[in-house]
Amino acid sequence: MALLKPFSKLPELNTANILLVENEEQLQQNLAESIVLQKTNTNVNVRLARSLPLPIEKEKFRPRIDLVVFIINLTSDLSYQSAETSLKFLDPGYFLGKVCFLVTNARNASVPPERLISVRKLVASLHCPLLYAEDQTTEGVNTAAHRLLAILKVTAGHVPMATGLYLSSLSRCTVPSDIDQQNFD
């Protein structure tokens, strides 16, 4: 079974590892460079993947992954389907605060609103936080990197008195019960 397990390896001193999973492999490159360039006291290693499961041959050399980020591009249906199938290869221990979803192109007018609704329902059912990112400008990428780094520091244990589970239960995605309806007040 090729499940990615959160606690099967020992952590390294002052190091945090983040895994970016994206089917299109567009945003993850820019995001990775931006995360690494952010000013921080910890060593951040960014690993990129197209989908899970990760290749089993490299399992020995892989460090402990502190945060798994799924990047979903709303303009393509395949992105959402691929993220959904990758979720099966994640150990349930990850969903206690070590998984985060990042959505791009949410403001695009050609995106059918049903897709964002189904993404929100999926993320809310998993109790994970959902972030929105603007991937066309460098400021958008830097903002997203900054936010991911903040979450990463908590899940890697570098922030005292805060854990990933605590943070995720505060910031997780919720959907109102009438999300299928558009309301005009």
Binding site: S76, S79, A109, P112, E114, Q182, D185
Partner: protein, 354 residues
């Protein structure tokens, strides 16, 4: 004068026990559903549902209800769609006055800022008339048709004026609750179809904005709605031969690739029939539409190793009509016009940002 002493003192040693309401407790424990409208000012609430199931397209012989000449005006033209917010104090009885005002407006606005062209049109005449018989329910306002006629400079004296621009304001089977919730001075005709040069469209829109205080906006047909149209048209195959089902996707490769997928109508119909869970039921659900499209995509993948869901659906066309993602629609057959216009009215109502 003794005033009533109405202060109540908190009892010092009395512990107030709160009755733990079971409903509140369970609500706090409910995980991913939250109460809404915490930040909204409570006002007149109108709710529009994104539809998950639709009625099957019925062949409607509308020549019984609509004048055949007017039907001929609607078919075989490519319309550009936009949404319209409700019109204030629009009267169906004052159409002649409106047409006079609109022609005067066009005459005054047209030459402004434009170089004199050789083949300039002279003498505009505007026709606004009602197309009776298209409205489905009592709540729908009657459809309005606008025509701009003009004569070319080099035309002979007795030549009739030609139509240079046409427009259609319509509301077919709009959401009943929404229409009923509008204040009485407002008329809702949420769908505008225009056909002709963009300069005239802009003039007509600015006149409407000035006179009826409404807003116009572009309407793009999302891929979900294009899929609805594809399945509705395919479902009409046993009654009226659609001849082919052509779908066009744009794949975001470098350089971007356009894929056109043409399916024989009989094969498409057989696939659709096998997807339908209850063939006798009148309504079509979104799951059936998704399975139909996914069936087509997996077939394509098996042959060409290209997953079409990575791209976006741009165009759907059959012998009954064609629709483009940017908001262009063409209806070639008058039979299913009401169903298509009903779907487009729903899109326009959902797109409106009231």
């Amino acid at each position: 004068m003794e005033g009533r002493n109405s202060t109540v003192k908190t009892p010092l040693n009395h512990v107030v026990t709160q009755r733990r309401s079971k409903r509140r407790y369970s609500r706090a424990m409910r995980s991913c559903v939250e109460g809404s409208y915490l930040g909204y000012t409570p006002g007149h609430q109108t709710v529009l549902k994104i539809p998950i199931s639709r009625k099957k397209a019925k062949s409607r012989d509308i020549t019984n209800r609509v004048d055949p000449d007017q039907v001929a005006l609607l078919v075989k033209k490519e319309w550009q769609l936009s949404y319209v917010t409700p019109l204030y104090k629009f009267r169906h009885t004052m159409l002649k006055a409106y047409s006079r005002e609109l022609s005067a407006f066009i005459v005054s606005e047209k030459p402004q800022g434009q170089a004199i062209e050789i083949a300039q049109e002279l003498g505009f005449k505007v026709n606004i008339f009602v197309v009776l018989g298209l409205a489905e329910t009592d709540q729908d306002a009657e459809t309005i048709f606008i025509q701009i006629l003009s004569k070319q400079v080099f035309a002979a004296k007795d030549d009739a004026q030609k139509v240079v621009w046409s427009g259609l304001l319509t509301c077919i089977n709009g959401d009943v609750d929404y229409l009923r919730s509008l204040p009485p001075e407002f008329v809702s005709l949420p769908l505008l179809c225009t056909s002709g040069p963009e300069s005239y469209s802009a003039l007509v829109k600015s006149w409407f904005k000035k006179t009826f205080d409404c807003c116009f906006g572009p309407m793009c047909i999302t891929s979900t709605n294009l899929q609805w149209l594809a399945t509705l048209w395919t479902g009409c195959h046993p009654e009226k031969n659609v001849q082919y089902l052509k779908l066009a996707w744009t794949i975001p490769t470098l350089p971007p690739m356009d894929v056109t997928y043409k399916v024989n109508a009989q094969d498409a119909w057989m696939l659709w029939d096998s997807v339908r869970v209850n063939a006798t039921e009148d309504s079509v659900s979104i799951d059936e539409v998704n399975s139909f499209i996914r069936g087509l995509q997996t077939h394509f993948f098996r042959h060409f190793r290209l997953d079409l869901s990575a791209g976006s659906l741009m165009r759907v066309s059959t012998a009954l009509g064609s629709a483009h993602h940017s908001g262009k629609i063409k209806i070639t057959s008058p039979d299913y016009m009401t169903t298509v216009l009903q779907l487009l009215t729903e899109c326009a109502l959902l797109k409106m940002p009231i």
